[in-house]
């Protein structure tokens, strides 16, 4: 589905505002997990790489696309893994509810 320029800019602007408001509320406690999580989400670029490798419109595109899939997937897998590992470590001193 094609996207016209103006719609794209609107989408970008709205997403940036949402990002600002949502991320401003993240506690400094969690800034490291925040960065590793946004990094994993950013690796959604993999969808572009998948199309490129899958459509095989030229050998160059297929090869670069495959390398791009490797790079993005390693961010997805590594990013989600380490974010969850970090978040599991954050414990409160208040007694846990049963």
């Amino acid at each position: 589905m094609k996207l016209d320029l103006l719609t794209g800019l609107y989408v970008f602007m709205l997403a940036a505002f949402i990002g600002f408001e949502v991320i401003r509320r993240v506690s400094p406690l969690l800034h490291t997990p925040l960065m590793s999580l946004t990094n994993a989400l950013d690796a959604i670029a993999v969808v572009g790489a998948i199309i490129l490798a899958g459509e095989h419109r030229s050998n160059l595109a297929a090869i670069l696309g495959t390398v791009a899939i490797v790079a993005a997937t390693s961010n997805i897998v590594g990013g989600f893994l380490i974010t969850d590992r970090m978040l599991r470590m954050f414990k409160s001193s208040a007694p846990k509810k049963p």
Partner: protein, 461 residues
């Protein structure tokens, strides 16, 4: 639009909502893990939807890519917590690599007839992507200490850097006007690749938190540009979210260092400081043994511990946890004061302390704990230096003047665990050490904290 296309678009729509929820839930430690699950679900949906695309004729390469990526990703998800900053820098490099490669392919598939607007975003995509790629690799190398951490500066450095950037933009403009000049395209990648390296070499280790955040922002923006090229709203949104996150973190980090972006990028900070440190003559300090330190701590009722990266380097966080336990058991209120730039990336210190099982509600932000220092009996500084330097408040000539600090000098007693009187990471002398109420505890952080714990348990049991 066929049913299949509608289905794919639907998965993207749901994935977008899940991504936003994911970041929203990350705002508090109690809901944060739900945020990761939402992110994972969104990602799985989007990838699943993409695989339905009718344009795909060959699944072999996709499968190879996904499997290889997972094989590389798993160890990257299992690194030690002290290595998280370099892992993060490396992942910015991977993200930028993906974006640059896709951009390159798109250019060669579409040239020579590329509409001007498409060429603008395509140029942004590959310029930002390639400079983030090498810049992040450099940052990772410095953090991993395979590259020298000291800033490398030379005369005319800023001019060279700006000239390179201007050249890349100039070539981009030519390509926008004449997209058939295919031969120029490699320069649009090569120049930013070199620029990325040149951008990071003058930056010292102390500025790494800001630089990582900035590279994070670039990685996000390049992904958003890729979204424009591919006409993918999902990608534009994910890129915008990542870009604004990196931007906010860079602003927070710059503020915490009292520096502007341009100052971090063009400053060559480390050099000024070495000069300032050289002028200092030896002045008398008071030192104390572990036994004395333990006695003072056990007589306190409120203790604030200020950890710095030196604590992590000495692997002392688990001993600090034992100290926390020993003091808490005696009914002493122990809290931690965390400076925004403690550690090598935003929030790094909190992760290191959480790993040592210290409850997160005891980890206080600078603004919160600063008001409490006058009522604090003992401020114990472990491996931190510049972030406690009162010269930032008083000495207008100091290179760190104006930087917000943890005001430990307002506590009744200050104890500093330090290897020697050698100047800190940034090379600035710290007047805190010469105060009457300051006791220097000379030694390795891990051993010294261990000794205090032994004294405390010996006296108590």
């Amino acid at each position: 639009m066929t049913l299949q296309d509608t289905l794919i678009e639907a998965t993207y729509l749901v994935a977008t909502a899940l991504f936003i929820l994911s970041l929203k839930w990350l705002s508090s430690p109690t809901t944060a893990r739900r945020g990761v699950w939402a992110g994972e679900a969104g990602m799985a949906l989007a990838i699943g939807g993409t695989l339905l695309d009718r344009g795909i004729v060959d699944y072999k390469l996709i499968a190879i890519g996904l499997v290889l990526g997972a094989i590389i990703g798993v160890p990257l998800g299992r690194v030690a917590m002290t290595a998280v900053p370099q892992r993060t820098a490396l992942s910015h490099a991977f993200g930028a690599l993906c974006v640059t490669l896709v951009g390159t392919s798109e250019f060669y598939l579409r040239s020579p007839d590329i509409p001007p607007f498409l060429m603008v975003v395509l140029a942004m995509e590959v310029i930002l992507g390639s400079l983030t790629f090498t810049g992040s690799l450099m940052a990772a190398g410095k953090l991993q200490e395979v590259l020298p951490q000291r800033p490398i500066t030379y005369r005319g450095q800023n001019f060279v850097n700006l000239a390179m950037l201007a050249l890349a933009i100039g070539i981009a403009v030519i390509l926008v006007l004449h997209p058939d000049q295919v031969k120029l395209f490699p320069a649009l990648i090569l120049i930013p690749l070199v620029f990325g390296v040149m951008l990071i070499i003058p930056i010292g280790g102390a500025d790494m938190p800001t630089v990582i955040s900035l590279l994070n922002s670039y990685a996000g923006l390049s992904a958003a540009a890729m979204g424009f090229v591919l006409g993918s709203k999902l990608l534009i949104i994910a890129g915008a979210l990542d870009g604004s996150s990196g931007f906010i973190l860079s602003v927070i980090m710059s503020k915490a260092m009292n520096r502007s972006f341009t100052n971090v990028l063009f400053g060559g900070f480390g050099q000024i400081q070495t000069a300032a440190a050289a002028e200092q003559a030896a002045r008398p300090v008071k030192s104390a043994t572990a036994e004395e330190a333990a006695a003072i701590l056990s007589a306190a009722s409120v203790v604030a511990i200020v950890p710095g990266y030196g604590m992590a380097v000495a692997q002392a966080q688990h001993k600090v946890r034992e100290l926390y336990d020993a003091l808490t058991k005696r009914g002493i209120d122990v809290r931690f004061g965390i400076h925004p730039v403690a550690g090598r990336m935003p929030g790094h210190m909190n992760v290191l302390l959480a790993e040592a099982d210290i409850p997160y509600d005891k980890l206080l932000e600078m603004d919160v704990i600063n008001g409490d220092f006058p009522q604090t009996d003992v401020a114990l500084i472990i491996g931190a230096n510049d972030v406690t330097n009162p010269a930032a408040r008083t000495d207008t000539g100091s290179p760190i003047y104006g930087m917000p600090i943890l005001e430990v000098d307002k506590a009744r007693t200050v104890m500093v665990i330090k290897r020697s009187m050698a100047a800190g990471f940034a090379g600035i002398d710290n007047p805190l050490y010469y105060l009457d109420k300051t006791l220097m505890l000379f030694g390795d952080a891990k051993t010294f904290v261990g000794n205090i714990v032994r004294e405390l348990s010996g006296a108590g049991g």
